[in-house]
Amino acid sequence: MVSDGETIATGEWYPPHSSAAVPARLLSRGGRLIAVTAEDAALSDGAIGKVSFTARVGSIPRRAVFTDGSVFESADNDAIDAFLRAGGKSGWVHRLEEFHPRIFVFAVAVVLLAVGIYRYALPALVEVAIFVTPPVVSEMMSYGALNTLDTTALSPSHIKEIRQAEIADRFRKVAANAEGGADRYVLNFRNGGLIGPNAFALPDGNIVLTDQLIELAGGDDEMITGVLAHEIGHVEYKHSLRQLYRAAGVAGLVMLIAGDIGSGVEDILTQGGGLLALSYSRGAEAEADRRSVELMRKAGMDPVAIARFFDLLETKLGDHSRTSMLSTHPGTPERKQAILDYVEILKRD
């Protein structure tokens, strides 16, 4: 009689690749696993090591697959576990997943890990990425960006050559103390058009100054130089590359656990990542402001010249806006105060 063995579980038996289920029992006898019908007729027979059991997930039915493709299926998970454990095999992942007080420890661990990765691992990864990025990457990016801007928003400057030379001269004095020396930075004059009074830095050291900003300054050349020193700071700290890598890192993190967070939430996380990137860029602006103060001091010019630019923004453009969740730049009054504070700190040293 085949039923002399020990019954492991009851369930159903399927022939290979067929839906014709038969009520059955799974027996263990003499190192073999045997599926038998209610009338003890043998259905499948295999050596214990050759029969594979599906891993336990929750309380879904388990399957024992014989080498010929026939399958014994049973919902009696505990009985199958007891048998497998006796054979030295069991599912450690399933034991972790059981609803047990330790699951709350896991929940706390997940939250702490997520915060930790965002706060510490992501910035570290960004630094590594910046370190291994060859200069050719930022040159390519800058070349493309300036080309695009020249064909769309910007046009050639109307400022006289002599005036341009004056500003460029001061710019070189400030840049001489910056990382890489004066030759690393190139000042470009452009008519800003719709962009208006502005100055911006490209990652390769090209800095663009618009005619409108020069006009707005009304002869205060130190102020213009202060703004340019701020842009040099952006280049030195590689702010644009850093921001790019941060955005990519956040997107990567969202993708990493995307399968388990759900599609609606995934979209919200991506949008939230954008808002957080704004707060990062506020930090970058403050950093560049402080660099402006340092560079101006070293060049023997008025370190708070850039603060006058903020005064100008306030009076002429009426920008009293304070920092908010939605802004890329810190509020103007706050920036001015931070610059004055920083000058005091530098004086004390």
Partner: protein
């Protein structure tokens, strides 16, 4: 346990599917999935996907038997490795010369129909019911027309031709689906699909009217205030919040209309689907309830920092499953599966990473 589904006493009666999973049980699986994914720097996510799918398939019970998901973590891991390697190579090429990014984009577009077919076939072949696997026999040409051209037509017509796209897509998917040696067929009627579009279309129109009214109020408010103080704080705040109102308002309106449309189409398509030319499927989701569950799920998940996600996932799965039913005509008899191997998961993984997810 009878080995046949009898049509005896309950002849011609629909039997509903059941979902037997629970939020507390899935919470354990989910939190361990997330934890191990983080600890292994993402490598475990392939095995996590297998455990998640096995849990949801295994708890979907139809006529007393559950579904089973057979993909292995290694298959999915290899699929992901290939996708990630391709993305890295494409990005390096794009840095070397901008023209390369054009080439890789064109390559992906050409390969996309093929990837869609691979993904659909992989997902069908790793799914079984009563020990018999599903299969998908669609061609890449069919995927190009029904999936890519269809979605293009729906977008270009601002949604007005969406019912055509829904019809092409679902006929392509279901008419190429096999349960073992038994075919599926579906023929959703255009009239019914246009009926499904009425409420979403009204929602979009009404939403646009309300949004433009709000914008008009803001514009009037800006003009009414003293022109010399155009840059004052409250006004800048109004302009900025107005911009956000428009952007988020449009996203919410389209999202909500999309949910309502999706639920209605799901009902129409499933209710017009037959298996083996005889057995009839039916779906009776309530559009309002479906939309409510989907939206409140997102809100609750966000408010609990993701920790209620298992509850939300189980809740939606239970609602959809329990509003799906089947009526067996005569006897199913013995169904055979026709193949054994299921291949690698490249197409499937590309789909899930790009956010195009086709579920059955």
């Amino acid at each position: 346990m009878d080995n046949r589904v009898s049509a005896g006493a309950a002849a011609n009666a629909f039997e509903r599917a059941r979902f037997t999973g629970t939020a507390s049980e899935y919470f354990g699986i989910w939190i361990v999935n997330v934890l191990l994914t983080i600890v292994t720097l993402g490598i475990y996510s392939a095995w996590a996907k297998v455990r998640r799918n096995r849990y949801f398939y295994g708890n979907t019970v139809l006529l007393g038997r559950s579904f089973e998901y057979h993909a292995t973590g290694m298959q999915i891991f290899i699929g992901r490795l290939i996708v990630v390697a391709f993305v890295i190579v494409a990005n390096i090429l794009a840095v070397i010369h901008p023209l390369f990014s054009l080439v890789t984009t064109v390559l992906i577009l050409i390969a996309l129909p093929w990837l869609i077919v691979r993904g659909l076939r992989f997902n069908a072949r790793v799914t079984s019911y009563r020990n018999v696997r599903f299969d998908f026999t669609g061609s890449a040409g069919g995927a190009f027309v029904s999936v890519m051209l269809g979605s293009l037509v729906a977008v270009l017509s601002l949604g007005l031709l969406a019912p055509f796209a829904s019809r092409w897509l679902n006929r392509y998917i279901f008419n190429n689906l096999r349960y073992g040696n038994r075919p599926f067929d579906t023929d959703p009627k255009l009239g019914a699909l246009y009926g499904a579009l009425v409420i979403p279309a009204v929602m979009v129109v009404l939403g646009a009217v309300v949004l433009s009214a709000l914008i008009a109020i803001i514009v009037v408010g800006i003009q009414a205030s003293d022109a010399s103080s155009v840059e004052s704080d409250p006004l800048i705040f109004m302009v900025v919040s107005g911009m956000y109102l428009v952007v988020f308002g449009l996203i919410i309106i389209y999202g909500l209309a999309g949910l309502i449309y999706r639920a209605a189409v799901h009902n129409i398509v499933w209710s017009s689907t037959r298996i083996d030319g005889r057995h009839v499927l039916r779906s009776d989701l309530s559009r309002a309830r479906y939309a409510w569950i989907a939206i409140s799920n997102v809100v609750v998940t966000v408010l609990t920092l993701g920790l209620m996600r298992p509850w939300a996932a189980v809740r939606l799965a239970r609602y959809v499953t329990e509003h799906t039913a089947i009526r067996i005509e005569g006897e199913i008899g013995e169904v055979f599966t026709q193949f054994e191997a299921s291949g690698t998961a490249v197409g499937s993984e590309y789909m899930s990473m790009e956010g195009l997810d086709f579920g059955f």
